[in-house]
Amino acid sequence: MPRSDPEAFLPLTPVAFEILLAVAAGPRHGYDIMLEIERRTGGRVSLNPGTLYRALDRLASEGLLDATLQPAGKGAGDRRRVFAISRLGASVAQAEADRLADQLRAARAVRLAGKSRP
């Protein structure tokens, strides 16, 4: 069922892209992903648990994330899932970044975006 062509996944939803960015540097569990997204966006993007886990579930079932169960600390039952970016996920994220970069270039060309803004 999982598709293998990264282009087939584009465009990603903003939430999906944020999640892939958050796990790009290393595996994280759900709460960490939420915190990382909040940190990176300076609190502008703050995901509710429902949205977060539905997106994680979809990304995992599409093969963009690998979910593994690991022993947890206190609170979340015995074990919890840790999500890592898969090879496919990494190439999809890269394809999405390229797509966005293309768009950004196009926007700059017509002066809809400043040059120096990150």
Binding site: P49, G50, R54, R80
Partner: protein, 886 residues
């Protein structure tokens, strides 16, 4: 804050149940954990509430989306599910295309379902759910049914007699309601609520010792008194970590060894007399330590028995019914004609809240019905406009069953959304309910958002979906027939059905409005009741003088005298006096009274006894009707012992107005007291509550009856709150070991009206919503009628009808519906008012004034609702009107 957080988490977990099982199993626990952590991180109460709202809405819409996503997969297996899933999808999309229509319906539903759910949860907690005790269904309260006091307890020594006389129980226990004792020897002197209990009480109510043991039969006569205390008391007195090691505290100046620690234990209130005093006890002492333990004349012990597993309430009741006759031969204090009864504990404790709660439930169900009628009406209007669509689908081969399913899917989607929003509203409402005194809820009845509450809401929602669907479904099926029989059927007419829905709405709204009107009038009457005293500028400060340190009447008189002198000298204090029991403060002292020359064949009359200092009547503004107030001549050593009575006594026993000089004597602990000469008659004071008539009352001067606990009343020229600290310091300056309990009498007056006020408020809120909905319903029907009759009206105008006559035509048609509704509503309101009789005060159930005014208001609002479409009809341009194809 923690509690609100806990509630939010429970709501979150409940909403998680909406997700498909696969998803829930995989992520449920983690999601709840993430939510809890975010909630903990949020800063401030408002932020937490915002966060919880956002997360729950997100969770709910996610659940719907997940369900839809899961549907196609399931559909492959089962064609029926696939059809329903598709219908639901279609319904969802159609409704999203009409956001205003959908939002109106969802909001109306949410309000009605939210109110129903909140009240349902209260009823569940107070009436349906078993009490939080082991074998609660077998617990029975044994009471004396007294004509004057309702359910009365027994004097303590009768516990032993009861245990010997009854056979249906495997345990019979006795306990007092909470008493205030003074605790010293563990930190600062403090008044602590405590209960005197027989052996077996703590076990019966399910207490388990956290440390040490419970009370045993051996403790009853033990030379060294012992006690069990609650965890909060223990931690306050000795610190959280302290180990139980035979610690001794002084309780009412007597050394008592603590032998056990238990968690707080809410005990039931089983008698009408004690109902005003129900702080949770923190100390449990053996019943034998109670100062009244040896007296057969003063009833303070609540008796509860646990039926044997095979025991029946019927025989248990018969058994106690025979006791008064037997006991009256042995004990002079027992009246052979008294009625003893055994009642299931669960019935008894919910007694006071049952009636108001059921009335409230009736009100919300009415509101829910009105909302349903309104929504059915809206759906009907929509299905009329969709008539052609349905006809086309029917023509293309859709069966009647398919169309019906489609209509049902519509209302199911709406009801689901309304329910979810309603649960949220109910959750908000239940958060504030415990702070409003709505009757007395049973001990520790936890009202919380749990699965039971969500189940109530879901059940209501489903019922609503079905009720609302019925009418359009009937219409839809008729649409099929129309489409088959007549070509070119343009619209589906549902005029008569819609009119009868509007009629029902008007009728139901009138019932609610009249009930609300009666309650509002009750409240007005109650708030204009004269309590008989002036409470506004008073501060009350109670002290209890322990017998060990104030052993004689002289020592107590000395303290009270000195305290009054010092208090009067305080700046800002205009008067000071003292009384043993505050008006409206509960805990009235009831004594038997014998009146000279008026033998009472049915036994001694009972009166409230109040012990007062001479300035009492002036300080409270109680008017002197005849005779003189108490003065310094009424000394302890005076030969002439005196008393005063209230008007209720004077009228009843001296109807010719010659009470002054009459003599009476009180039945006290040691038997009949000395004869007292009546020197004054004072105005009635409503000591038992503003809605209770004044009881017969006898006043005696403190100098001649120096009791242990007194409440000092200080009248001030400004706000009494400013004197709270100075008065406390003054009293503790005289005796630093005396705890002082302070309250404002004006709060007692307000509290006595809190429940009727809340009731009137809630009912009027519901009634207002009902009025609005009914007006909308009437407006909808008339407005739609005008649209449908556009062409007809055009013809009339073209043929020369005046604008006035068109206006009259529409108004008459609309008002006819309303008047029929009013007629039906009045009949139903009479029934409702009769059922509410017990909740009314000073207003007859069929109060013509309320009925007339409320009906007038409803007619006025309905007329206004009709006027809007009627004016539209009046202004119709005949040429335009004739061109429409409607």
């Amino acid at each position: 804050m923690n509690e609100a957080g806990g509630r939010a988490e429970r709501l979150f977990r409940a909403l998680l149940m909406l997700y498909p099982k696969r998803f829930r199993d995989a992520y449920g626990a983690e999601m709840a954990d993430v939510f809890a952590r975010r909630l903990a991180r949020a800063d401030g109460r408002m932020a937490r509430i915002r966060l919880a709202c956002r997360a729950c809405v997100d969770l709910f819409s996610g659940a719907v989306a997940e369900r839809f996503a899961a549907a196609p997969a399931a559909a492959a297996k089962d064609p029926m599910i696939s059809l329903l899933a598709r219908d639901l999808l279609i319904a969802g999309r159609t409704l999203l295309r009409q956001p205003t229509f959908s939002a109106t319906i969802v909001f109306t539903l949410a309000l009605a379902i939210g109110a129903t759910t909140a009240v349902g949860a209260l009823v569940d907690a107070a009436i349906v759910r078993p009490l939080p005790y082991p074998s609660a269904e077998r617990l029975v309260s044994i009471v004396e049914e007294s004509p004057r006091f309702g359910k009365a307890p027994f004097a303590i020594p009768f516990l032993r007699d009861l245990r010997e006389s009854v056979t249906q129980y495997d345990a019979v226990v006795g306990f007092t309601s909470t008493w205030t004792v003074t605790v010293t020897g563990a930190g600062e002197a403090r008044s602590v609520p405590s209960a005197f209990v027989s052996d077996g009480v703590l076990e019966l109510f399910g207490a388990r010792p956290r440390a040490g043991r419970l009370l045993t039969i051996a403790d009853v006569d033990a030379a060294d008194p012992v006690a069990v205390v609650s965890t909060p008391f223990w931690e306050r007195a000795f610190g959280a970590g302290a180990a139980l090691d035979g610690q001794i505290v002084r309780i009412d100046d007597r050394p008592v060894t603590i032998v056990g620690i238990i968690e707080a234990l809410p005990m039931p209130i089983t008698s009408s007399v004690a109902a005003s005093n129900h702080d949770s006890a923190e100390i449990w002492l053996p019943l034998s330590l109670n100062p009244l333990a040896g007296l057969r004349t003063i009833p303070v012990a609540n008796i509860v028995g646990r039926l044997k597993p095979e025991g029946r309430i019927g025989p248990a009741r018969l058994e106690v019914a025979t006791l008064p006759a037997r006991w009256s031969e042995i004990y002079p204090s027992v009246d052979a004609a008294a009625r003893y009864s055994a009642l299931p504990l669960s019935e008894l404790v919910s007694e006071s809240s049952r009636r108001p709660l059921l009335a409230l439930l009736g009100a919300v169900v009415l509101l829910l019905l009105i909302a349903c009628a309104n929504i059915a009406n809206l759906m009907l209007v929509r299905s009329a406009t969709r008539g052609s669509e349905l006809a086309v689908r029917a023509a293309l081969g859709a069966t009647r069953g398919r169309l019906v399913l489609q209509m049902f899917a519509d209302s199911l989607v709406l009801a689901t959304m309304g329910t979810a929003f309603g649960v949220f509203l109910a959750w908000l409402a239940l958060g504030i309910v415990p702070s409003l005194a709505l009757g007395e809820l049973p001990p520790s009845s936890s009202i919380q958002m749990d699965l039971r509450v969500v189940a109530i809401a879901a059940g209501t929602g489903l019922l609503v979906a079905m009720a609302v669907a019925v009418v359009p479904v009937l219409q839809a099926s008729r649409a099929v027939i129309y489409a088959r029989i007549r070509d070119g059927a343009r619209t589906v007419r549902g005029g008569r059905v819609r009119a009868s829905l509007a009629f029902a709405e008007v009728a139901l709204a009138l019932v609610l409005l009249i009930s609300a009107g009666l309650l509002a009038r009750s409240f007005w009457t109650l708030s204009s009741v004269d309590p008989g005293f002036r409470a506004n500028n008073l501060l009350a400060s109670g002290v209890a003088m322990p017998g060990t340190r104030y052993p004689t009447a002289d020592t107590r008189r000395a303290f009270v005298g000195r305290a009054l002198d010092t208090l009067e000298a305080l700046p800002g204090v205009t008067r000071a006096a003292a009384v043993n029991r505050l008006p409206l403060g509960g805990g009235n002292v009831i004594v038997g009274v014998e009146i000279e020359g008026q033998p009472q064949p049915e036994g001694p009359v009972t009166m409230d006894r109040r012990v007062v200092t001479p300035g009492y009547f002036d300080t409270l503004g109680i008017p002197l009707v005849a005779g003189r107030p108490f003065g310094i001549e009424d000394r302890a050593d005076a030969v002439d012992r005196v008393a005063a009575v209230n008007e209720a006594v004077a009228r009843r026993f001296w109807p010719e107005g010659n009470a002054i000089g009459g003599r009476l004597r009180l039945m006290l602990r040691g038997g009949a007291g000395p004869w007292l000469r009546i020197t004054g008659v004072f105005g009635n004071v409503r000591h038992h509550g503003l809605d209770q008539p004044a009881q017969p009352e006898v006043y005696v001067p403190y100098a001649q009856a120096a009791v242990e606990s007194m409440v000092f009343l200080t009248q001030v020229s400004g706000d009494p709150v400013a004197l709270v600290e100075p008065v406390r310091q003054t009293l503790q300056g005289i005796d630093p070991e005396l705890p002082v309990e302070q309250e404002l009498p004006r709060d007692l007056v307000t509290a006595s009206m809190a429940e009727p006020r809340l009731r009137a408020l809630l009912f009027n809120g519901f009634a207002f919503a009902a009025l609005l909905l009914a007006a909308l319903g009437v407006y909808g029907v008339v407005s739609h009628g005008v649209t449908e009759r556009t062409r007809e009206i055009g013809v009339r105008v073209a043929l020369g009808a005046t604008r006035g006559s068109i206006l009259g035509l529409v108004m008459r048609g609309g008002l006819r519906t309303v008047l029929v509704g009013v007629g039906g509503g009045l009949v139903a309101a009479v029934l409702a008012a009769r059922a509410m009789r017990g909740l009314l005060f000073g207003v007859p159930p069929f109060d013509p004034m309320t009925f007339a005014v409320v009906t007038g208001v409803l007619l006025f609002v309905a007329a206004a609702a009709i006027l809007v479409p009627a004016r539209r009809a009046m202004r119709l341009d005949p040429i335009q009107a004739l061109r429409t194809d409607q």
